[in-house]
Symmetry: C2
Subunit: 555 residues, 2 copies
């Protein structure tokens, strides 16, 4: 056993918010038995990943060691924790463990890829444990913004690890188990090797508030509103969805669920017995026949997503329902950094319709699902770990969280994606740097972050595209003139003649004086044609486009 | 005179923040004499305007009436108010009026386009007025975040208009004239037809704070910091730049200006006599020889701009200066919505370097340049206008500002870009809707928002691009196989063969069975080749690419 080591390796979620994937290993170096915690996705954007559908962790390192993987443990059913199971299961092939609600969601994802229900084992919460190679893993209920979130107790021959998953300290969370400080203290009573801890809200200085505080405010709001009200939150935030629906019920409003994920989540929560006291709902078809002041729409799209119910209502109509002057739209949610523009677009569209919008700036209608700074300190002080390993955060969050621990005398290590940490000794140390990145799901193909495909797309978006075609005859002589077609470029520039004409003239002139050895050499010829195209475009329109050159040789 | 009317027509800035351009007219309908207030730009982004360099107001309506334009008045030197003068002057050709500092900046922009210094007339502040057709226009000093900001008194035969420009209520603004409530009340004593008023901060409920409150906080901060400190703010915020530099001076730190606009703005402010008490500065070359705790870098890039000094320092080095663990970076600025990602990227890069970052979340190191809600009420109550016309805001801001006025019994009208308002009567009314949009400066060419050019770029970024070339001989028979080249697409898909091979095979198969009349018809043939390419790509890689088809006919 002396040659065995305990390792921690984040492959996603450490140095970013999203795409969580953490590996623990125990055994001889390079032959550890491995478990994976979470397989999440991140979401693409036009800035850096145009055309990409989803961002997945790069699991190449795991795939090469798939025979060493004993299990995959999913802490909760948020997309950034469970979203990649369907896409990546085949490459890892290990059994998946999760609690009932999470397992329900995971199975829906796996079945889309034709995997059997049995790939996922539904697991009872702590004190039940799953034996997985040298690990014993227990799911410890913890409060968050989705039902059945769990921290993990990971017992290893080298000691106990507590992996918090996403959490907040909320003793009245509405749906899901309350945070239980005594339970967490008891888990730690024999010593904890490492606390691997959520860092999202480390910069929020006030203690977190409880879900229970939101309900009365929303009820008051719904009672005072005059027309129809639509409210949005993450569909997976079942507690909030219930809070809003119950407030609506008490305020004399019928609830109508709009948006696929809203209906699907309520379905999953009902199937798994988590939701039993949800008010009865009306269908979209019924809404027009109900007085506006008696309606509450519960809609998807809290982040301004273009296809969600919120965006479609803002565009004018969804499922036959139209909002109008006197109605109100409530964001019972926080805008995730980066989504501001989409959210603001919706707010302005509603403004044009005369619909009042209320956002979370008052703080009355939303509480965060993540532990704030004082709550992170509470967790740390309950657990008293040998080492604090911050996760689920950008670099700035992880660094701040390490500093926060060090102020209280707890050693920490800042491990970002790809940094393998050896936890065997009393002090954690970096064992290795794994080359890792991101995998893009692009249409139906998985491509690598550094394949150059997305880079080319960004370049076409910034610079436009020119196709240059040329036919060369059997004697290596150009047959006719080169032909240009442009896409994403102005039709004319400084010469006040069509850009393609100017390009073709310059290319034709070059060919007229080109040497035989250039004309005979595809590479050389292509390079010259590209250079001239870019140079002429620069002088005509002030841009250097991307160029595809096609030389056809008759033979 | 009874057939004359007074009109207001926003062409930019009403329904958006940026690209300000407001037109006032007086005279017979459709033959009004016109003045233009501000000619600003907006900034492009990857989401909606990839590859675009600047966004300018669409002045087609003005250009068609250039003989009716008597003057262009620039309220202050922010890019969203003065940025388009160089690009659009030629199309309007009217004299430009501005106060000294603004005129200095405007002349620099015009001279880049070869226009004479004399296109801009430097104007003294109120009570001096410029007679411009039927208008008398006076520049009234008002506090904002750039020197010599002015509201305009616009006297017309139909009454007085007060156009606030951008402003805040600050009686101790540091640089620039303090807000003078008595002056504004006196301007209004004989009645004001319309108050055309900044709306940016209508959702900020607390009264605005003064620039004077920032200095002591920054001085304390700089005294307590241990290593080198870099601070960023908008270079044009001369008051803040001076506040920071003076605080540095008192804290025993030498000031080094980094970034072109930072140096240029200080230069303009010094040339025009606005800045006389700026501490002496050191050059970037001198910095390495000064102890780190005695240095303050004043840098550009408060919005995370990729090429600015802040981003380059975050990348590792700028002008030979490297920040490191123990140093601090201060954002003395607010992140404009939409710029969060760029700012967060910089913060994380500094985090990786061990540099602490302090942002404006404490509220200690920044105050806004725009009037908050109570300050907007103060202005309205000072002026008591017949009509309130909100400007400088998105739709949501304008609407809220109208509502705010109506609560106090002041009639308002919500006019967005392109809505011409007739102010002649006691109640404003919409006279006409002008077709207007945005003009994109794209490289060296100006293109229209709806030309389809940017749309094509976005499509290439989302879908990738395929070039299909085909040679057809004299008998309308394909000569050899079609040839495909891809850009921004995966090399292979579901068939595990190169995508281009699959595309070429499918296209070849189609050609083999194509009817003669299809082969003889370029349009028909192109359409078929495009359709097959998109269909095959969809089945191979799950994406429908943009396609350029080039058919070359030998003859």
């Amino acid at each position: 056993m002396s040659t065995s080591r305990l390792i921690y390796l984040p492959l996603g979620g450490a140095g970013e918010i999203g795409m969580n994937c953490y590996v623990y290993g125990y055994g001889p170096a390079d032959a550890e038995r491995l478990i994976v915690v979470d397989l999440g996705v991140a979401f693409p954007d036009m800035d850096g990943t145009p055309g990409v559908d989803l961002i997945l962790p790069d699991v190449a390192w795991l795939e090469e060691r798939r025979n060493q993987i004993d299990g995959i443990f999913i802490t909760h059913a948020h997309e950034d924790h469970v979203g990649a199971v369907g896409h990546l299961f085949e490459r890892l092939g290990a059994p998946i463990y999760a609690r009932a609600f999470t397992a329900n969601i995971a199975r829906r994802k796996l079945s889309e890829y034709g995997f059997s229900e049995r790939t996922v084992t539904t697991t009872e919460p702590w004190p039940h444990v799953v034996e997985s190679g040298p690990f014993k893993v227990g799911f410890v209920p913890i409060s968050h913004s989705i039902p059945e979130s769990s921290g993990l107790v990971i017992d290893t021959p080298a000691g106990r690890i507590l992996h918090t998953g996403d959490f907040k300290i909320d003793e009245t969370p509405g749906v899901g188990e309350p945070f239980d400080p005594e339970l967490w203290a008891s888990l730690a009573k024999d010593g904890v090797k490492a606390l691997v801890c959520d860092s999202t809200n480390v910069f929020s200085n006030h203690p977190g508030r409880s879900e229970a505080e939101v309900g009365p405010e929303i009820e008051k709001f719904l009672s005072e509103a005059t027309g129809m009200v639509a409210a949005t939150t993450f569909a997976s935030n079942i507690a909030r969805v219930r809070t809003i629906a119950q407030a609506a019920d008490r305020a004399g409003r019928s609830v109508c669920l709009l948006g696929r994920s809203m209906r699907r989540m309520i379905e999953a929560a009902t199937e798994t017995g988590i939701l039993s006291d949800f008010p009865s709902v009306v269908s979209a078809e019924d809404v027009p026949s109900i007085p506006r002041e008696n309606v509450l729409l519960l809609v998807t799209g809290s982040q301004g997503e273009r296809r969600a119910a919120s965006a479609q209502l803002a565009n004018g109509k969804y499922m036959g329902i139209t909002m109008r002057e006197g109605d109100t739209f409530l964001f019972s949610s926080k805008t995730i950094p980066g989504n501001e523009k989409g959210v603001i677009r919706i707010i302005n569209q509603f403004s044009e319709m005369g619909v009042d919008v209320v956002d979370d700036s008052s703080g009355l209608y939303h509480v965060s699902g993540h532990a704030n700074r004082p709550d992170l300190e509470t967790m740390r002080d309950l657990v008293k770990p040998q080492t604090l390993i911050p996760m689920h955060g950008e670099h700035r969050h992880l660094r701040e969280h390490v500093k926060l621990g060090e102020k209280a005398g707890v050693q920490g290590i800042l491990a970002v994606n790809g940094m393998m940490i050896d936890l065997s000794g009393n002090q954690p140390k970096v064992a290795e740097y794994i080359e890792t990145g991101r995998t893009y799901l692009d249409g139906s193909v998985k491509i690598g972050q550094f394949d150059g495909i997305v880079r080319d797309r960004i370049r076409m978006a910034l610079n436009g595209h020119v196709t240059v075609t040329l036919i060369v005859d059997e004697n290596d002589e150009p047959l006719g003139d080169p032909w240009c077609e442009v896409m994403g470029l102005p039709e004319q520039g400084s010469s006040n003649a069509p850009l393609v004409d100017i390009l073709e003239a310059d290319l034709g002139q070059f060919l007229g004086r080109a040497e035989d050895r250039t004309l005979a050499d595809d590479d050389k010829l292509e390079k010259e044609l590209r250079t001239i195209t870019r140079r002429t475009a620069m002088s005509e329109i002030g841009k250097k486009p991307e160029v595809t050159v096609v030389i056809s040789r008759l033979s």
